[in-house]
């Protein structure tokens, strides 16, 4: 991957205020594929009975990771915006574990990037959530 492009994606995603407030960090950037993760925090709890973090926090991580994957695609120039994103919550994320997301931009046309992503906790055999979405492309 071209270093300049990798740097541009890193710089763009390092300063998003909402991502920063959730503690998101980039794990890796490749051509059209990005890994990101986010620590568990009590302030993210969505269900006080089970201490499981809110689906919205997982959604935010997946959305950010998908956007970064679209932007890191070799043919994509400049930033992207989400058109739509669907998340399936397959099981509750285990409390006190870091959430990792891996997103792949599997197709890029002149106007749209198609992206899929997966969210995992320490049990990598069973995903926590999966996402599929479309993003705006072009300069």
């Amino acid at each position: 991957m071209i270093e300049k492009k990798k740097k541009a994606v890193e710089d763009f995603f390092a300063i998003l205020p909402h991502s920063m407030s959730l503690g998101m960090g980039i794990d890796f950037i490749r051509n059209g594929e990005v890994g990101m993760s986010m620590p568990y925090d009590n302030k993210l709890i969505g269900d006080p009975q089970t201490k499981v973090i809110h689906g919205g926090a997982v959604f935010a991580l997946l959305d950010t990771c998908c956007g970064a994957a679209a932007m890191s695609h070799p043919e994509q120039v400049g930033p992207t915006a989400t058109i739509d994103l669907r998340v399936d919550y397959m099981r509750p994320a285990t409390p006190r574990q870091r959430i990792k997301a891996i997103a792949t931009c599997y197709n890029l046309t002149k106007n749209v990037a198609f992206v899929r992503a997966i969210a995992l906790d320490d049990n990598e055999e069973k995903p926590v959530a999966m996402a599929a979405g479309a993003f705006v492309t072009g300069g």
Binding site: L16, H18, S21, T82, Y89
Partner: protein, 168 residues
């Protein structure tokens, strides 16, 4: 026969507001985002007061897709729970103290949630209202609409399915 005088309005409002606040205050992520609710009878509107932490792209600036999605999902879950609580606290044959009603309340769990980003979220307050299109014993289907300045110019909408808590 002795005619019972109607319940004083202040008492009714107090009971309803307390039940709603208790539900909202119990979820940390709602206060993390700063979401508030406006209640008129049984109808509730979610409010997302603007703050810098909600921004995604700072150069536009625009609200982060993740904060918008979370706001919509919160609106849907609260609407579903509020419907359950309302039935409990407003049923005269089943007078339940708001505290007790919440003691036995489990939250619905999201099965899936889909967000349509219609226009970019401006750096100002946002509002959302959820409509429960179907609620059964196992699952519910909910649609949420969100807007900023004009009610009929939506900036996002969402649809989700939720697993309903099983009552014993």
């Amino acid at each position: 026969m002795v005619k019972l005088s109607p319940e004083p309005v202040a008492l009714i409002k107090k009971r309803r507001n307390e039940a709603l606040s208790k539900l909202i205050d119990s979820i940390p992520y709602i206060s993390f985002l700063g979401v508030d609710f406006d209640r008129r009878g049984d109808e509730i509107t979610a409010i997302l007061p603007f703050k810098d932490d909600l921004i995604g792209n700072p150069s536009l600036p625009a609200l982060h897709g993740g904060s918008i999605a979370a706001f919509l999902e919160i609106s849907a879950i609260i609407e579903l729970s509020w419907m359950q609580i309302w039935r409990q606290i407003e049923n005269p044959s089943l007078i339940v103290e708001p505290s007790k009603a919440l003691g036995i309340l489990s939250l619905p769990k999201t099965i899936d949630f889909s967000v349509d980003y219609l226009r970019s979220g401006l750096p100002r307050d946002a509002y959302a209202r959820a409509k429960v299109n179907r609620v059964g014993r196992r699952y519910a289907s909910v649609h949420v609409e969100a807007w900023q300045d004009n009610r009929n110019r939506l900036f996002a909408q969402g649809t989700g399915h939720f697993l309903m808590p099983q009552q014993n």
